[in-house]
């Protein structure tokens, strides 16, 4: 993400952003980017408005244009009431929204967001999603990284799954689910101790992927209810069962595995 933001030299391969070479034209490219870094870089000692003023000045905007855009942007991220408050006491969600507002001060063509909702509560996440969606509708290109598959599903037209710095899959969320998973997933729980034995029997019932985790059995299926009926017919009675739609998370775990990557 830092390479895309032109603040880090490309390590390998070719990179062209807005038709320019990020090494040679870094500053000219950055002039047309907005960046929302993973860690906020707001100046906590300044007010909300001053943070936007400082940032606008970096892009050479004059005071009246900055003031005009500040009003619009604070309204857009719902921070108008806090305009003259210091940044420090703001909540995590407010700081994130302010960072987004700040990144838009130069009216960027591309907005780069690095895990924009990590650490936010559900309400705050939904506000951020809503604002990002509106930006997308206005024609701003969003490039975002996320570990939240629901976030990717909500916001992305085109999704790239990365594992150990390699692209392992690419497509729309819907395409990826169709390609790498089944339409539904059946989740079963058995009494402690019975799980392994049940799993051995169930494997024979399904031609699709099956997975045994510490606390449950995952069965990928075109029709979850139909498979559940077959499990019961085979004389197995789970203590809990749950049929759900396949999600991007299933795709992600299938592609990158369950082992922790730090």
């Amino acid at each position: 993400m830092r390479m895309l933001g032109c603040v880090s030299p490309p390590t390998q391969g070719n990179l062209t952003i807005l038709g320019g070479d990020p090494v040679r034209d870094g500053a000219a490219i950055r002039a047309r980017l907005g960046v929302v870094p993973q860690e906020d870089t707001l100046d906590n000692e300044l007010t909300v408005r001053e943070n936007l003023l400082v940032y606008g000045r970096y892009f050479g905007l004059n005071r009246s244009l900055i003031a005009e855009r500040t009003d619009q942007l604070l309204d857009f991220v719902q921070l108008t009431e806090r305009a003259n408050d210091q940044v420090d006491p703001l909540s995590g969600g407010m700081k994130r929204r302010l960072t987004i507002a700040r990144s838009l001060i130069n009216d960027p063509e591309i907005l780069i967001l690095d895990e924009p909702t990590t650490g936010l509560d559900p309400q705050a996440r939904h506000v951020v999603w809503d604002r990002l969606f509106r930006l997308k509708q206005r024609g701003v290109t969003l490039i975002l990284t996320t570990h939240y598959m629901d976030e990717a599903e909500q916001l992305c037209d085109r999704l790239v799954v990365m594992d150990h710095a390699k692209i392992v899959a690419e497509g729309t969320p819907r395409e990826l689910i169709a390609r790498y998973s089944t339409p539904e997933v059946l989740e079963l729980r058995f009494a402690p101790g019975e799980q392994e034995a049940a799993f051995e029997k169930i494997k024979a019932l399904s031609s699709e992927r099956t997975e045994l985790t510490a606390d449950r059995i995952l069965l990928y299926a075109a029709d979850g209810d139909e498979l559940l009926a077959r499990v019961r017919t085979a004389g197995l009675e789970p203590v809990a069962e749950f049929v759900r739609r396949s999600t991007l998370e299933d795709v992600f775990l299938q592609l990158t595995g369950r082992t922790l990557v730090d």
Binding site: L18, G19, A27, R30, R32, P37, T41, D43, E45, Y55
Partner: protein
């Protein structure tokens, strides 16, 4: 990718970009200048009172021939000015630079914009130079008001003091930006500015130091600043030594600028 992409815009000049970075610091300074006045203006005045007038009354009783025949307070005032400039430079180039990397992240925010690491460095240096100039201007005015200036050459006192400060600020900032924690800064002050302040011909002439130590004192940047300020204030400046002092400080500034543009680049473009 068939839609026409607008060509990348031309960048403004380096000076313009550095001024943009400088103005960012002004926004923050607008809130803190009142509290900063106490430490930066009254501190040196206390020095002048205690050393110049207090200690000076004892010194003057024993004759001031080694001081050039002027009262001690007249001898020491330009040196206090030089020390003030150095201290303003070092404190402003140490903690705020570190803070801009680690605490308020001013540098990290700025690098995502069209500023380059060198613009960020020069912009901050401009702000530090402004702080130095304000503090020194106030002190020069006090010197004039108390009749401690003996020569018309003193019109060059303020630029000389600012040059001295910038000569310190540039390399200190260049170094501070590289630090991962603030502990080494204590060494800078303990083994850097404090001995410099005491032994650079500030409170007594270098001739009073032991012979083997004198060459060391003559080599220090603060001595060049003190000697320059004193010569301008007392009117004893001769073109040759003045040029040497100025040359030394300009060279130190140049090295600091070069070094800083490298260290800032390495820290902000990784």
């Amino acid at each position: 990718m068939t839609s026409a992409l607008a060509p990348l815009g031309r960048l403004p000049g380096k000076w313009d970009l550095s001024v943009r970075a400088f103005r960012c610091w002004l926004v923050a300074y607008r809130r803190t200048w009142r509290s900063s006045i106490w430490s930066s203006v009254f501190g040196p005045l206390f020095y002048l009172g205690a050393m110049g007038y207090g200690l000076g009354s004892l010194v003057d009783k024993h004759g001031t021939a080694t001081l050039g025949g002027v009262p001690y307070v007249v001898f020491v005032a330009p040196a206090v000015l030089a020390v003030q400039s150095m201290n303003t430079a070092m404190t402003n180039a140490a903690f705020p630079v570190f803070g801009a990397m680690h605490w308020n992240k001013i540098y990290l925010a700025a690098r995502a914009t069209m500023l380059s690491p060198a613009d960020i460095f020069r912009g901050h240096l401009l702000f530090i130079a402004m702080r130095i100039a304000l503090n020194c201007a106030f002190f020069v005015a006090i010197m004039a008001a108390f009749g401690l200036i003996r020569s018309a050459l003193a019109v060059a006192l303020l630029p000389a003091a600012v040059l001295l400060g910038v000569a310190f600020a540039a390399p200190v900032a260049a170094w501070s930006v590289t630090l991962a924690n603030i502990n080494p800064m204590n060494y800078l002050f303990r083994f850097g500015s404090v001995p410099l302040m005491l032994f650079s011909g500030t409170f007594f002439p270098i001739g009073s130091l032991p012979g083997w130590l004198r060459p060391v004192a003559y080599a220090t940047p603060l001595w060049h600043g003190v000697a320059l300020c004193r010569a301008l204030s007392l009117g004893t400046a001769d073109p040759g030594s003045a040029a040497l002092h100025v040359g030394y400080l300009v060279a130190m500034t140049g090295i600091g600028l070069w070094w800083g543009s490298r260290t800032y680049y390495r820290r902000l473009y990784v």
